[in-house]
Amino acid sequence: MCAALSVLAMLEYVLRRIVATIPVLLLVAIIVFSLLYLAPGDPAAVLAGDQASAEEIARIRSSLGLDQSFLQRFLQWGGGVLRGDLGQSVFSGRPVTSLIAQRLEPTIALTVLSLLVALLIAIPLGVLAAWRPGSWLDRGAMGFAVLGFSVPVFVLSYCLILLLAVALPVLPVQGYKPLMDGIGPFLRHMILPAFALGVLNAALIARTTRAAMLEVLRQDYIRTAQAKGLPVMRVLIGHALKNAAIPIVTIIGISFAMLISGVVVTETVFNIPGVGRLTVDAILRRDYPVIQGVILLFSVAYVLLNLLIDLSYGLFDPRIRL
């Protein structure tokens, strides 16, 4: 009875969180759609070409539905999005969905790897810095963090290229090898971009980890754990880190937005044929449907990631399960 109720309560919590993201997604859709709606230039004229007559353009306009109201066009577009139809590239005429799908692998690989790098650096660094605030380790960690905030990702990328690809040519300067070509070449090409992006992302996470840990380490229950005779590492990991987890995973979710902007830049610097590169090409060509599709994709990914993170709170704090 009691267990059934708590499962129900848990389910309700999950459901409520999911329901709460719907208006956000809707708003994102409206904003993204307005972008195309407000975009300068007449897609019909572009499609029709330079020699087209006014009637011909008008015909294309109505066939594209461009003469309809905002709401009608939004509903039409939204329906398409729900069916997986993001429109066509103005430049190549190919469906945006397939353009994105082709380029997903390198982007996902870069994102996952750099997040991994970031966490591996940030969490231990933040925990140890908080353990001995004011020590040289702490100062070093926080110096690194403020530097990480301040150095744009292309700057670090170029420095790394200069060092590890040009001066000591141990790694390729740029390019991408898909995973299918073997893990070795894939990783060789991924090390520099993933590291550049990961290190900078680590700054924010390390700083938040330290702050959260400092807060937790001040709590009375830490003293209780010490009074029990627990070793330092058990206190830090077993008692403190779990309590500090919520702000840490929250910042990981927020940092995903920065990661996306980093991905766009990093793919440009390292010439990786991913979605970020696609974005930049689309901007340079004023290919609005592609820009729109990419923004929608990244935003939805961001919202869903943060939903997952929200749902994970219950794993760290039993008080949230109610």
């Binding site: 301040s150 744009p152 292309f154 830049v265 990244f298």
Partner: protein, 278 residues
């Protein structure tokens, strides 16, 4: 307030260094025509891709323009974008946050809109907005401001709601003080410190975003010397002439770093845990 800033400078050596560096860069930006030895637009076809020397301190680019002069002029763009965005974002965020914190129905609508805006990664939002309005410094400033406002609004609203629950606000109520006076006398003064800190972070973010946007070609028009543009142009000849990328990068990093250090110093100075208030 001013006492707080002065105190921050005294206690936090980093903050003082940050403030000094920032002031120096601001001066350089203002006095760019006096400092830059060569017209930043001047093309010297015979001096292409020169390494740094006594004449070209930061070398030249692929059409022979002086990278140092361009970098100095680039500071103008960054400073302008940073200042304008910080001011407008903080002011709009303050107004919107106060409204949301005090009027329930406004809160409901406003916060949903902010949630929607915040769900779009700010760089993409800025790209989208610049894509609509065309590349110009004005649209860059508007785009970055729109991307930054939700965060400031959130901060202000959160602080207002926290402050409203404070006992000293209730004490003011029982002392017969009306809501507008409470707002002006008790709430806003307590918001200034966090907002000043936030302003520094918004400034840093704006400078950084402008550089990134210009770097990927969605920013300031290419003829304007901005750091992002210079770096972007140097990209293709990076292996031949790394100085075109490296010098503006260094200056950009130093500027963002000084603002961030300054912001951290202010934050520490205003943090009650550091000032001995409890």
């Amino acid at each position: 307030m001013n006492a707080g800033v002065a105190q921050a400078m005294r206690r936090h050596r980093g903050a003082a260094v940050g403030a000094a560096l920032l002031a120096a860069m601001a001066l350089a930006a203002i006095a760019a025509p006096l400092i830059a030895p060569i017209d930043p637009q001047l093309i010297a076809p015979f001096d292409r891709l020169q390494d740094p020397d006594a004449r070209y301190w930061f070398g030249t680019d692929q059409i022979g323009r002086d990278v140092f002069s361009r970098t100095v002029y680039g500071a103008r763009v960054s400073m302008m974008v940073g200042c304008v965005v910080a001011l407008t974002a903080i002011f709009s965020g303050l107004v919107l946050g106060l409204l949301a914190g005090f009027i329930r129905w406004v809160d409901g609508i406003l916060m949903r809109v902010m949630d929607g805006l915040m769900a779009i990664p700010s760089i993409l939002l800025a790209i989208a907005l610049v894509a609509i309005s065309g590349p110009s410094i004005r649209s860059i400033v508007i785009a970055i401001t729109i991307a930054e406002v939700p965060r400031v609004t959130r901060l202000v609203r959160g602080q207002v709601i926290a402050l409203r629950g404070q006992l000293f606000i209730e004490a003011a109520t029982t002392a017969g003080t009306s809501v507008p006076v409470i707002l002006y006398r008790h709430i806003v003064p307590n918001l200034l410190a966090p907002l000043l800190v936030q302003a520094s972070y918004v400034f840093a973010a704006a400078v950084m975003t402008e550089a990134v946007l210009s770097f990927i070609g969605a920013g300031v028009p290419p003829e304007t010397p901005s750091w992002g543009n210079i770096i972007s142009e140097g990209r293709t000849v990076f292996q031949l002439a790394p100085h075109i990328v490296l010098f503006p990068s260094l200056v950009l990093s130093v500027m963002v770093l000084s603002v961030n250090i300054l912001g951290d110093g202010l934050r520490d100075a205003f943090d009650p845990r550091f000032t001995g208030q409890r």
